[in-house]
């Protein structure tokens, strides 16, 4: 099952999924909006073994991430968890800072022109801004929800994937992209 639900609907969805007698072994669900923060709200019991697709998990084993998670917990409490959207917001500020430093200006247009190729060693790994469309090249991950409520990587693209927001690189999308 490929689940694109957002927000609270996920809670009702996974409760009914369990009530219908389905399990992750019988019919696994890949979700694109369930991060560590949401696992608590949906209930770990309702999610164990399910898959998610993101670019970051709290369990990523790197010095940059360990420092990020430790600093986050020190500020917001040991019980809190980090998630991909948090990490993305955190990283974007550093990217902006790098652009400002490269442009040596706070003007929007100058920053925009300086964006191409700006790179940052984020908790998720190195990310780089694409000069053509201003999306960033990131590493894709698929993770599995564990009983401790955290998500562990089960597959990784290995290296950052160049952004293709307008679906130019896919045969099936021919005619869709303008």
């Amino acid at each position: 099952m490929f689940n694109t639900l957002n927000g609270d609907s996920n809670v009702a969805f996974f409760k009914e999924y369990k009530n219908a007698g389905l399990t992750a072994a019988a019919m696994p669900v890949v979700s694109v909006s369930i991060a560590e923060e949401e696992v608590g709200g949906v209930g770990v019991d309702n999610l164990v073994g399910q898959l998610t697709a993101w670019n970051y998990y709290q369990t990523i084993d790197s010095p940059a991430n360990k420092a990020f998670v430790a600093a986050f917990k020190a500020k917001y409490g040991q019980a809190r968890v980090t998630s991909d959207p948090m990490e993305a917001a955190y990283t974007s500020l550093f990217l902006w800072k790098a652009m400002v430093e490269k442009a040596k200006s706070f003007q929007t247009d100058d920053i925009r022109n300086a964006a191409a190729g700006v790179s940052h060693a984020a908790p998720e790994g190195t990310v780089t801004v694409n000069g053509e469309n201003h999306h960033i090249a990131k590493t894709a991950l698929i993770g599995k929800v564990a009983p401790d409520g955290l998500i562990y990587t089960v597959w990784s693209s290995g290296s950052p994937i160049e952004p293709d927001p307008f679906l130019r690189g896919y045969d099936w999308a021919k005619g869709l992209s303008g």
Binding site: N6, L176, G178
Partner: protein, 387 residues
């Protein structure tokens, strides 16, 4: 401004209010504010335009309209559809439709390629919806709480409808990413300033119209319907049509405000039209004085300004503050801040106009046909001021 207006009796005071308002909006604000703040102020003016309509229907007409977001949204979406089509080119299709849908333009989008039909639609579509709904509801004498709840349910239904239609109207994300406004580049600061002037002038013109309405026979009838609907009926008037006019006008104003909101803010989404957005329009009106001419406008501007200032520095405090405003103003100062002066003055001479009569038993029981709205403190003196 309002206090001053009520002190200078008659038209002079109101005219002075208009002159001061025009000066503040058209001269002082553009000179003092940065481009960013001016655009923010333009957004507040859109809310103020909605507030003028609410003041008419709620303050003068006694109809608690909790669904103005619907008409705001209808006007806004009509404008947004036109801007999307204009950006896409003569035979183009808006970008999101290719991403989420079939890439085919639905037939009901076609009329909004035309700028003329769009401008007509901004006013006429909200008016027609309000007319249809209002005619049905008022004719059957559904009013009071029932009317309020139905209007709120309308807002909920409308937002849900929009969220469900990703492929044809943008769903939860709404419509955004407009590049031009009737041929003018929306990224150009000069054009952004022009939008502010358009909004400000629209607000002043609509206020003038409403002022003339308040001074007319119709304005008197509307207040009469609010205070004693049955008596007006016995006198041979039709309260349903009197209320309908105010409801439709309020809807049209909300539609115009929504259409201005779209190019100024750059997005319209279900969050701007739903239950919460709709009821938020009311607080400024209640604070400013729902039955006054300038009160709703000043209240709406003040609340929007306070929201921006407070939530910039204390994000969670704003919710408490907004909640407390609703509680304190509506429970203890139903005439709004503009009644404060009158209240104090009357207390000094020992007469409390703010006092409200205790309810009669029949009024307490019968919810379906609720009691006539209580006289608002200071309403009369203000309607005299507007004469």
């Amino acid at each position: 401004m309002t206090a001053l207006a009520s002190r200078l009796k008659g038209n002079q005071g109101v005219l002075l209010g208009f002159v001061l308002g025009a000066l503040a909006l058209l001269v002082v604000a553009p000179a003092m504010l940065s481009d960013f703040r001016l655009s923010l102020f333009g957004r507040f003016i859109c809310y103020a335009i909605v507030a003028v309509g609410i003041g008419l229907a709620w303050g003068r007409g006694g109809m608690l309209i909790l669904g103005q977001g619907v008409f705001f949204g209808l006007g806004g979406y009509v404008m947004a559809m036109h801007l999307k089509l204009a950006d896409a080119g003569p035979s183009g299709v808006p970008d999101f439709m290719r991403l989420y849908g079939s890439g085919q333009l639905p037939i009901w989008w076609e009329p909004f390629r035309s700028p003329v039909l769009t401008l007509l639609g901004v006013v006429l579509i909200p008016s027609l919806v309000a007319f249809g709904l209002g005619a049905a509801i008022f004719r059957r004498r559904v009013r009071g709480a029932y009317f309020a709840i139905l209007s709120q349910a309308l807002a909920a239904a409308f937002a849900i409808l929009l969220i469900g239609q990703v492929a044809t109207i943008g769903g939860f994300n709404g419509l955004n990413g407009f590049r031009s406004f009737f041929g003018y580049n929306l990224f150009d600061p000069v054009n952004k300033r022009m939008l502010f002037y358009i909004a400000a002038v629209t607000l002043l013109v609509l206020l003038l119209i409403v002022w003339q309405l308040y001074r007319s026979r119709y304005g008197e009838l509307l207040v009469a319907v609010r205070d004693q609907e049955e008596r007006v009926r016995f006198l041979g008037y039709d309260p349903a049509s009197i209320k309908l006019v105010a409801y439709v006008l309020a809807a049209a104003m909300a539609g115009i405000a929504g259409a201005l909101f779209v190019p100024i803010v750059g997005i319209i989404s279900p969050a701007n039209v739903g239950v919460v957005a709709s009821i938020t329009f009311l607080i400024g009106v209640a604070i400013g004085g729902r039955a006054t001419l300038f009160g709703p406008v000043l209240g709406a501007l003040a609340v929007a300004g306070a929201q921006t200032t407070l939530s910039e520095s204390f994000p969670s405090f704003w919710s408490y503050f907004q909640g407390a405003l609703f509680v304190l103003v509506v429970a203890f100062l139903p005439g709004g801040l503009s009644s404060l002066g009158l209240l104090l003055r009357s207390q000094r001479v020992g007469v409390r106009t703010g006092h409200i009569e205790p309810p009669s038993p029949a009024q307490r029981v019968d919810v379906g046909r609720p009691p006539p709205p209580e006289p608002l403190s200071g309403v009369r003196s203000r309607s005299e001021a507007g004469r």
